[in-house]
Amino acid sequence: MGEQLPSVPGRAQLHSDTLNRPVQTLRVKMVLLGSSGVGKSSLALRFVKNEFRSTSPTIGCAYLTRVVHLSNVSLRFEIWDTAGQEKFHSVTPLYYRGAHAVLLVYDISKRKTFVRAQLWLRELEKHYIPGSTVIWLVGNKEDLAQNRQVSVQEGERLASDRGLFFMETSALSGDQISELLLAVAHRVYECLGTQQGGLSEWEEYPFIDLHHRDTSNPFSSCCKVGP
């Protein structure tokens, strides 16, 4: 069954934007992977709401969405924020299967999370088909540079050795967050957007006949399609 998360604000925004509304919205499945506590959920919250607040460790995974407008297309990021805790590792492959983009996150102030990211990479490489997934190595908590345990060069080297993209971010300060999302958007569209069977189109009203929506929806504030 097709998924649907119709959002009133998202829709309203798209409508008010009719003039420069892009022709097409494509769905992008993006998965966040990495050790517990590296800041995956914090990055996801930045992507979706541009907020930062302390949250509990993720249980299972969380699904969030955010639309990114490029000049000639809109990408609807469907973000799977997975749990880093070891007891959930057995279910994680469920989430990254079929992902168009993977953010492999580590904490620059904790070396073991960098090592752990390499294990994830090995797992990923077993499953993914080259050319169908864009993988980004993300060194988060760049604001903790004074406690840095992984140098920028190391991150860059690993990325170039394994054909990944690389960026350092801070979910706390917001540094490089929108840059990262935009870079992923461009890269994904470049690699997969025009490819046959690459990205599927998102239909705004997949169930229009079944679900007549009323404009005074009291749940408008719970919708997740971002700005």
């Binding site: 050790s35 993720t58 299972g60 997740k224």
Partner: protein, 522 residues
């Protein structure tokens, strides 16, 4: 009038006859002894369809559950499962360190285990493996306690070797209770007057808490492969769930009564919410649960599938202990151990609005069901908003409880009332005299004592009255309900008895707001 009623009641109490309550009979309770026969008491469901399992034994259930979780539907699952376990059990090149401080709810466990503070905690709980490896301690760190746990395990094996299962040790004003649930051993140590049975009940909860995270199958598999396995690796970051559950055990009457409580809500509004949930069904959806904080708004279940109150409390604990479901939609495997210790369900967990207390939990048997569940939620919301029940629900959230003033029985300070057939209970806010945490916990302790008396294994009492310095207590159990009351110490037994009658009348009058009278199935 009231006085006359009190008289009648007083006479009848000692024999515990059912006469006074007869007056409470309402049109729907036409049994000869209404209120006292299971299914006609205030709060009992109108139809004979309880939401919870309570009559069947656990063993009956687990046998059934094999079928229920759709084992046959995924014939390849066992193979896949073994592979997943391999990943879990196999040594990793890198041992991930337990990232305690990483979590916002990081525990302050760095307590010296040889200190007086550590010793003086009222209740300790330890979990260890059968090999004697520490898995969990409520206070201090497991590492620091490994020798203590070793001693405990030695004690357990020593007695077991002798074909006696060790149950408890009493020494020095301390009670030590053991629960051996292979592959785990749980130990409770208390300095309170809590009965052995109550402590054992709490240890069972902790056991189920751990099983709900991993499944018993996985636990067994792990320890069969590697007797010395350090389970803390898999439980890392989940200790707070056990901590919180222990806290709830001290404070939440629901865990004591084996029951849950509801958000007070007009019958008509609740029916709309329930039927909207009922309509938003899907093939593999087993339970739809709407919570308002720790209160149940409604629960819709698949026909013939019952939820056990312990499983529901574990879900409450999971949702209530974590802010992780606040953003987006959560999707997590969860084992409901009273339903099936062997497998995972998959729960879609999300709040209706970001700052709302209303949390929707959709439990499916299919791990690929995320988008189906998400669609169910959407359909539920649409129905709800169309029928404007959402506004009523939001209004109800403003008063999630009620005060004793509203009940209007001056001599009565507080009470717990459980309808046995529905598995639901109701209780007012704590009154002014029990405002502090200590006082509330003390009162809960008193209720626990009463509960022990009523459920004493060999000689259960049906009625119990006790005068104390700080309060008078009364407990009464019938086939239909359990009632625990707390009176001012100046109150008399006669007053207490009349208060019970008034209270039962009040509950009957309010039952369609306080209970779920029409539970639905898909």
């Amino acid at each position: 009038g009231m006085d006359e009623e009190a008289q009648t009641a007083h006479v009848s109490w000692d024999k515990a006859t059912l006469a006074p309550v007869d007056r409470l009979r309402s049109d729907r309770a036409d049994s000869p002894t209404p209120g006292l026969v299971e299914g006609t008491e205030p709060g009992a469901a109108v139809q004979k369809s309880a939401m919870f399992v309570h009559a069947q034994s656990f063993e009956d259930l687990t046998a059934e559950a094999e079928k229920a979780t759709g084992k046959e539907e995924n014939p390849d699952e066992s193979g896949e499962c073994a592979e997943e376990l391999q990943v879990l059990v196999g040594e990793k090149n890198i041992e991930e360190q337990h990232n305690r401080d990483g979590s916002p709810q990081g525990r302050t466990k760095e307590e010296d285990v040889s200190s007086e503070t550590w010793r003086s905690h009222r209740k300790h709980v330890f979990v260890l493996s059968e090999a004697g490896k520490p898995i969990y301690t409520r206070y201090g760190t497991e590492e620091a306690l490994s020798s203590t746990m070793g001693v405990m395990m030695a004690l357990v094996s020593f007695v077991e070797a002798d074909k006696n299962i060790i149950r408890s040790v009493h020494a020095d004003g301390c009670k030590v209770v053991f629960l051996a649930k292979s592959p785990l051993v749980l130990v409770g140590v208390t300095q309170t007057c809590q009965s052995e049975k109550e402590l054992l009940r709490e240890l069972h909860y902790i056991y189920y808490q751990i099983v709900s995270l991993l499944t018993l199958t996985q636990l067994n598999h792990i320890f069969q492969h590697k007797q010395n396995y350090d389970l803390r690796r898999l439980l890392a970051g989940s200790e707070y769930l056990t901590d919180n559950l222990l806290h709830r055990l001290e404070r939440d009457p629901g865990l004591l009564l084996s029951a849950v409580t509801c958000l007070p809500l007009a019958n008509s509004a609740r029916d709309v919410v329930s039927s909207s949930l009922q309509a938003a069904k899907a093939k593999n959806l087993v339970f739809s649960i709407l919570l308002a904080g720790d209160r149940l708004v409604t629960l819709v279940r698949k026909k013939d599938q019952f939820l056990h109150h312990i499983d529901l409390h574990l879900v409450f604990n999971l949702v209530g202990s974590s802010s992780s479901f606040r953003e987006g939609e959560g999707w997590t495997p969860i084992c409901l151990p009273k339903f099936n210790t062997a497998g995972f369900f998959h729960a879609h967990i999300s709040y209706l609005e970001p700052a709302s207390e209303l949390c929707l939990i959709l439990v499916s048997t299919d791990r690929e069901d995320f988008f189906n569940m998400s669609d169910c939620k959407q359909r539920f919301l649409e129905r709800l908003s169309k029928r404007s029940a959402y506004q009523a629900l939001k209004e109800a959230l403003k008063c999630p409880s009620y005060s004793m003033e509203q009940v209007g029985i001056p001599e009565l300070r507080h009470f717990l009332y459980k309808s046995k057939s529905s598995g639901l209970y109701t209780s007012p806010e704590f009154p002014f005299v029990y405002q502090s945490d200590e006082e509330q916990e003390r009162l809960m302790g008193l209720y626990q004592e009463l509960h022990s008396h009523l459920h004493y294994p060999t000689r259960p009492l049906r009625f119990y009255y006790r005068c104390g310095e700080t309060e008078n207590l009364l407990a009464w159990v019938t086939n239909g309900f359990e009632l625990y009351l707390c009176f001012s110490p100046l109150s008399t037994k006669a007053l207490a008895v009349s208060a019970v009658n008034k209270l039962l009348k009040w509950i009957r009058k309010e039952e369609d707001r306080l209970f779920i009278l029409c539970p639905l199935t898909y």
